[in-house]
């Protein structure tokens, strides 16, 4: 399995994209939590998470999104999740996360779902 990596890029003015690689578990989830916290500290509340290269997620990873979703939506933003593999989506689905989170087939669709500024 690929090692965990996290990269942040800015997509024009509409949102920032967090791209995840490898595995998101109890060991790596704090790194994602720190990255989202820093985006919020910089006043960025429109976030797309690109799961294209993420092979594995456990409940520790899911919990990170729960930590921030209320605060982000109170600010008029959102965390939109995109491009999950079938295996990663199945973990979200098993716990009913699609009820609360917007999950898109592609990163572009997630980006386009944010209003352009």
């Amino acid at each position: 399995m690929k090692p965990f990596e996290l990269k942040i890029s800015k997509n024009s003015e509409s949102c920032s994209i967090i791209s995840l690689t490898g595995y998101l578990d109890a060991h790596t989830a704090p790194e994602l939590e720190k990255a989202i916290y820093e985006l919020l500290s910089d006043g960025i509340f429109n976030i797309v998470v690109d799961f294209t290269a993420l092979d594995y997620i456990s409940s520790a990873g899911l919990g990170v999104f729960m930590v921030f979703i209320e605060r982000i939506r109170e600010k008029g933003g959102d965390i939109k999740l995109a491009a999950m593999t079938e295996r990663v989506f199945s973990v979200f689905d098993l716990l009913g996360f699609p009820v609360l989170f917007n999950i898109y087939p592609t990163v572009q669709e997630a980006v386009d779902a944010f209003p352009r500024t």
């Binding site: 109890a26 456990s58 409940s59 716990l95």
Partner: protein, 144 residues
Amino acid sequence: MSSSPRDTSLTIKATTDQLARIRDYVFGQCVHAGISAPACHNLVLAVDEACSNIIQHAYHNNPAQTFNISIRATKNSVTIEITDSSPPFDPASVPLPDMSTYFEERRHHGLGILLMTKILDSIEYVPASSEGATNKLILTFKVS
């Protein structure tokens, strides 16, 4: 692929950086037993959740502590026994969250045991019977 049962075990340091090693071990044993890849992935997740709880909540990520995982896998069933020497804690005693309430209250912990119950056929906990003995967490999965 072999369908004959075999018992193997792994001793693990109680730190979260060991979770990847645990997952590789569980996946390898389940694949070797001839279990389908989707079922192997589910078992990996269930064991990850069980071990994450032990590492973080029982041993507080203490590298001086270790625990043991043993697996008996056949093409029809997998039994995973996790033994540790931490203060006894029965994960099956924890009330499972109702997800509607969980989302309404924006909670962010306590999903691991729920995932385990959704994947596994049984979760049995045997606390240490005396000082120096080990707790046993026995996870059973039947291949459908």
